[in-house]
């Protein structure tokens, strides 16, 4: 069963990870400030916790799945070097060199 979950792609590129971290930190801090002020106003700490949990849920939804906005700067990999026939000739020569050193 685990193989099904492992095959779903969940990666983000580096700039996307930074964006995701900024987003969830901002949402949690904003909901913390709102929750603290509201709880202090109505004198019930339970509401502070509820507002924090709402902020947590919103940031879970926004940052856990790999949305396309986090994949806008993919890494530029080097193009693959094609295998030429010259390399095949080098290999038997290397084997001979190794034998001599023994």
């Amino acid at each position: 069963m685990l193989s099904v979950f492992k095959s779903i792609p969940t990666h983000m590129d580096y700039k996307g990870q930074k964006l995701a971290e900024q987003i969830f930190q901002g949402i949690i801090l904003v909901s913390a400030v709102i929750g603290f002020i509201y709880g202090l106003f109505i004198q019930q700490f339970g509401w502070t916790v509820y507002i924090m949990l709402a902020g947590f849920t919103v940031s879970c939804f926004l940052t856990l799945p790999p949305w396309p906005m986090y994949r806008k700067n993919p890494l530029k990999w080097q193009p693959a070097v094609p295998e030429a026939s010259g390399e095949n000739r080098d290999k038997p020569q290397e084997n001979q060199k190794k034998k001599k050193h023994k």
Partner: protein, 180 residues
């Protein structure tokens, strides 16, 4: 932060740290508050008996019976950092053998959300008012005070004494009747 689990871990740990900071903020806003309120205590019936005290070292000890009324408004004490109050009525006096005696006669738990206007009439004591010896008879000055222990959501648990007390004197003779 490349996998869902890594992002979830980071998000959850950050939320917990922020939650801890909010709880500290809740504590700081109520840490230096004065939690004392005026309390009114009346006593309607006082009686004393001299009975066998099986828990003490001597043959007979004084047992006092006090019936009292308490009225207080506890609403100002409850703020967002108070979970419940533990109220207790203490009788304080001095005798020849002990300089200070304190006996808890009655207690009550008041939860957040319960009725905060305390208006109790003709309450009998919950716990026995035994003296360590025979010092209650003809004792002129016994002081009844109501105190409470504030149980917070976050922070210290202070013991606060209400302002207002009642002094009473016990009679000179013992009751000999069987019923209370």
């Amino acid at each position: 932060m490349n996998t869902v689990l890594s992002r979830a871990n980071s998000l959850f740990a950050f939320s917990l740290s922020v939650m801890a900071a909010l709880t500290f903020g809740c504590f700081i806003t109520t840490a230096f508050k004065d939690r004392s309120i005026p309390v009114d205590i009346h006593v309607s019936k006082i009686m004393i008996k001299n009975v066998d005290d099986f828990t003490g070292p001597r043959e007979r000890s004084d047992l006092g019976f006090v019936t009292f009324d308490i009225s207080a408004n506890l609403q100002p004490i409850f703020d967002w950092n108070v979970k419940e109050l533990f109220l207790y009525l203490t009788a304080e006096y001095s005798t020849k053998s002990n300089a200070l005696n304190q006996v808890v006669l009655w207690d009550k738990i008041v939860l957040r959300g319960d009725n905060t206007k305390l208006n109790l009439k003709d309450v009998k004591s919950k716990y026995f008012f035994f003296d360590d010896g025979n010092g209650l008879r003809a004792n002129k000055n016994i002081t009844l005070t109501l105190s409470w222990n504030v149980v917070p959501n976050a922070g210290i648990l202070p013991l606060v004494m209400g302002s207002g007390h009642k002094s009473l004197a016990f009679p000179e003779t013992y009751e000999t009747s069987k019923s209370y």
